[in-house]
C-alpha cells in the first residue's frame, strides 16, 4: 500500500479533524457522560446529582430482573447470530452454484438489509400474529399452539427470528463475496480429485471462508447485543413478563420510562464492557483458528 506523508502536520490534523469531531460528539462525549452518570444519582427532573460511587452497579447486579435481561440477551444474540449465519451461508452457497435465476434471487436477498428495524418488527408482528394469517389457522387446529403475547419462549423465539432475518442479507453479501473469491480451479481440482458437491463445500469452500465467518461472527454478535431495540420495541415491548426484555431495551425502559437515568447509564456501561469483552474473546480465541490465505 502507498503511504503519503505530510510535511506540515497541521494539514494532516485538519484532514482527520471532521472524523474525530463526529466520533467525539457522538461517542466519546456521551460515553463519558454515561460513565459520570453511572457513578452518580441523577434527579429525574434534572437539577443536580449526587456522587454515589458503585451504588448503581450494586443495585443492578443484585436485581433479578437485570440477570433475566442478560440471559435473554445472550439467548437472543447467539440464537439470531447462528440462525442468520446458517441461513445466509445456505443462500450464498446456492447463489454461488449459479442455479437458474440466481441473479434476480441475489438482488432479492440483499434488499432486506435496507429495511429499518422497526419496519422489520412490524412486518413480523403481522406474520406471527396469533389471531391472523397462518398462525390463526394453526391455532384453530391446535388451540393454544402459538401466542407470543402469552408464551415468553415463543416471544423470544419470534424476536430472535426477526433479528436474524435482518442480519441474513448483510451476511449473505459477505458470504457470497467470499465464495466468489475462491478460485474456481480449486473446486474444479477437488472435483477431479473425486469430491462431490457437498464434499467440496465442506473440504474446500467452507475452510477458505473462515476469515469471513470470523468477521461476520464478531459483527453479528455485536449487532445483536446493541442494535435489537427497534425489533423488540415494535414486536413485544419487552414482554410478556420481561421474557424479551433485552439489555438494550431495558436501558431504554429503565431510563426513559422509569426515569432512572443513573441506573440506565450504569447498564449501558456494563453492556459496553460486555461487548468489548466478547469481541476480545473472539479475537483472542476464535481468530487463531482462522486460516488467512
Amino acid at each position: 500500500m502507498r503511504r503519503a506523508y505530510f510535511k506540515t502536520s497541521w494539514i494532516a490534523a485538519a484532514l482527520v479533524a471532521p472524523q474525530l469531531l463526529i466520533i467525539f460528539v457522538f461517542f466519546y462525549w456521551p460515553s463519558a457522560q454515561a460513565v459520570y452518570w453511572a457513578f452518580t444519582l441523577e434527579q429525574p427532573w434534572g437539577g443536580g446529582n449526587t456522587w454515589v460511587g458503585l451504588q448503581n452497579f450494586r443495585n443492578i447486579l443484585s436485581d433479578p430482573y437485570y440477570w433475566n435481561s442478560v440471559r435473554a440477551s445472550f439467548l437472543f444474540a447467539f440464537g439470531s447470530t447462528a440462525l442468520a449465519m446458517g441461513m445466509a451461508l445456505i443462500l450464498a452457497l446456492f447463489a454461488d452454484r449459479q442455479l437458474r435465476g440466481y441473479k434476480a434471487y441475489r438482488l432479492a436477498v440483499i434488499w432486506p438489509y435496507a429495511i429499518a428495524a422497526p419496519a422489520v418488527g412490524l412486518a413480523f408482528r403481522f406474520i406471527f400474529a396469533p389471531g391472523a394469517g397462518l398462525f390463526s389457522y394453526l391455532n384453530t387446529l391446535y388451540p393454544g399452539l402459538w401466542d407470543p403475547s402469552v408464551s415468553g419462549t415463543q416471544a423470544l423465539l419470534m424476536v430472535t427470528i426477526a433479528g436474524a432475518w435482518k442480519l441474513v442479507s448483510y451476511n449473505f453479501i459477505f458470504f457470497l463475496a467470499a465464495l466468489q473469491s475462491i478460485p474456481r480451479s480449486l473446486t474444479e481440482a477437488a472435483a477431479m480429485d473425486g469430491a462431490s458437491v457437498m464434499r467440496r463445500m465442506r473440504d474446500i469452500q467452507l475452510p477458505l471462508m473462515a476469515p469471513t465467518f470470523f468477521f461476520i461472527l464478531v459483527i453479528n454478535i455485536t449487532d445483536s447485543f446493541t442494535d435489537s431495540f427497534g425489533i423488540v420495541d415494535t414486536l413485544t415491548g419487552g414482554g410478556p413478563a420481561r421474557a424479551t426484555d433485552l439489555m438494550v431495551y431495558k436501558i431504554y425502559s429503565d431510563g426513559f420510562r422509569g426515569f432512572d437515568y443513573s441506573g440506565a447509564a450504569a447498564q449501558s456501561i456494563i453492556l459496553m464492557g460486555l461487548v468489548i469483552a466478547l469481541t476480545f474473546v473472539q479475537f483472542r480465541y476464535v481468530e487463531r483458528r482462522v486460516h488467512y490465505t
Binding site: A189, M192, D193, A195, H291, T293
Partner: protein
Amino acid sequence: MAEIRIDKVSKSYGKEKALMQGIDLTIMDGEFVVILGPSGCGKSTLLRMIAGLEAVTGGTISIAGQVVNDLEPRERGCAMVFQNYALYPHMTVAENIGYALRVARVAKAERMARVAMVAGSVGLTEFLDRKPGQLSGGQRQRVAMARAIVREPKVFLFDEPLSNLDATLRVQMRHEIRKIHNRIGATSVFVTHDQQEGMTLADRLVVMNKGTIEQVGSPEEIYERPASTYVAGFIGSPAMNFLPGEIQGGAVILENGIRLPVPGLSGLDGTMVQVGLRPERLSLTGPGRGQISARVDFVEELGSARLAHVLVEDIAISVLTGDKLAIAPGDEVGIAIAPCVVQLFDGTTGKRIETAAHAAQQVETVS
C-alpha cells in the same frame, strides 16, 4: 485400456455461434498427445470437456470405450494438472497430495504410504508438512503433479502446467513430465501454446486454430510437412518466410517479378501460391550466386547463430546462418535455396501443395 475417442465434438455457449465444431481425434492408450494452439483456439475447452469440467454440446467423448459425456469428472478416471496449480491453500502438501485418496476412503496407513512414495518420486519428501504458500513455483508444480500421480489415473490431463514457471524451471519440469510419463505410461493430453514444449514432449502433436484441428501428426511431420500456412507459421522459430507469388512455366514468379525455380510444378500454371521458406534451411552465399540476390538489411546475433534479415527488392526474408560470415547492413548477398526446402501453399486456401521435390526428398530421407 484408456484410449480417448473424440467424435464430432462441438461446443457452444448459449445461443452464440459454435466455439468448436466437428472435432475428431483419437488418442491411443499410453500416448502423449500435445494440443498446441494460440490462446482462444479452444484447446483448453477441449481438455476441460475430456475432464468433465465443461459440458459437451454435440458429439461424443469416450474414454476406454465408455461414452463419458454425462459422467461426473470423478467418474472418468482422469487426473488434471492446472495452470495455476490449484493447490488447496489450507492443506499441507501431504494433505493436498492425499486428498483424492481421502475422498476415496483409502485407509490412513495406506494413504500415508502412497503419499510418501509419490512425494519421494518428485522430490517433495522434506516439504510434506508445509502449506502451499510456503513453497516456490517449481515446488508447487511438483505438488500438483504428485496430486495427479497418486491417484494412478487412466488419463493425465495437463492444462498449460508450465506457463507460470521461469524459463529454466520450465525446461526442467518438461523433462520431468516426460520422464514420469515414460515411467507410468498413462495416456496423457497436454495443452500448451508454447511450440517448443509441444515439439519436445509430444508423441503426436495436434495443432488447433479457431476451434478446429489444423493438423495432427508427429512433431517431425508437422515441422517438415505443415498442412497449411497457419501450421507452417505457428511451428518453427524463427518463423517461416512467406512469399506470395504465382506459378508460371515451372517456376514461382514472386510479386516483385523475381523468378524462383522450383522443380515438379507441371500442371499448376496460374495457381496463386505462398512460398514457405524456413530461415534455417536457407543459406547465404556470395553476391550473384544462389537462386536470388538480396541486400542485407540488418543482422541479429543469436550467439549460436545469426539471423540475417535481407531484402529481395522490397520483400523481407530472414536467413538463419551458422557461419560467422562478415556481413554488414547494405552488403549484396545471394541466397541459396535448395529445391527440397521450398514449401508451397495455396494462395487462397492456405493448404499445402505437394511438389515432386518433396516426394524426392521423402525418398532421400528414407534411404
